[in-house]
Symmetry: C2
Subunit: 113 residues, 2 copies
């Protein structure tokens, strides 16, 4: 889905893990991330992905949508997010890049199909 309106934010992070690709530990991290982060009420359309472009070196990605900046803030401050960051992210992720997409103010920036 394209983003429905100019308030919605798609938050993504691409990252590497200390675990080997395809390992059970890597798959468990993605699954635990999904479980813990989707427990936060403001998280919409969560996806845990393999990053497969050969043009960058990141191995995985998370994607989620927030209906507003307030919903995004509520996620950042939520105990489940803080627990995930402290217990898993900071101990298993070796590098990452965060990316946030929002529609331009000019609605022509978005395809309406």
């Amino acid at each position: 889905m394209t983003l429905p309106n100019a308030q919605t934010i798609r938050h993504m992070v691409v990252f590497d893990l200390k675990h080997p690709r395809e390992s059970a530990a890597a798959r468990q991290f993605l699954e635990d991330g999904r479980r813990m982060l989707t427990s936060i009420p403001t998280v919409r359309n969560f996806g845990a992905y393999d990053q497969i472009s050969a043009k960058n070196d990141y191995a995985y990605g998370f994607s989620m949508d927030f209906a507003s900046q307030a919903d995004y803030d509520a996620y950042n401050d939520h105990p489940a997010h803080m627990q995930f960051v402290r217990e898993r992210w900071e101990t298993e992720v070796t590098r990452f890049l965060e990316i946030d997409f929002r529609l331009p103010t000019d609605p022509k920036g978005e395809d309406q199909q």
Copy 2:
């Protein structure tokens, strides 16, 4: 929307333009990109976005979905894509990073909500 199945690929690129942010030339680039790339039949769910995370320096993003690697290849080889790259991307984009998401083989990596 989360990706519907393990064949679908979400192709994204974050980038900077030589034009100032919020300028008419920047907005025109996003609009022309939308128009030219959505003319390619295999492009689904196209979005042209502002990149708003303060944790990276990219200003814009395109996102599109392909139903399969074959659809992705058809896009790469399509004359409209090659024209856009040659006439606009190579002359107006100053730096970029491509990212592709695909569901892990293990379907538990994806939230089914």
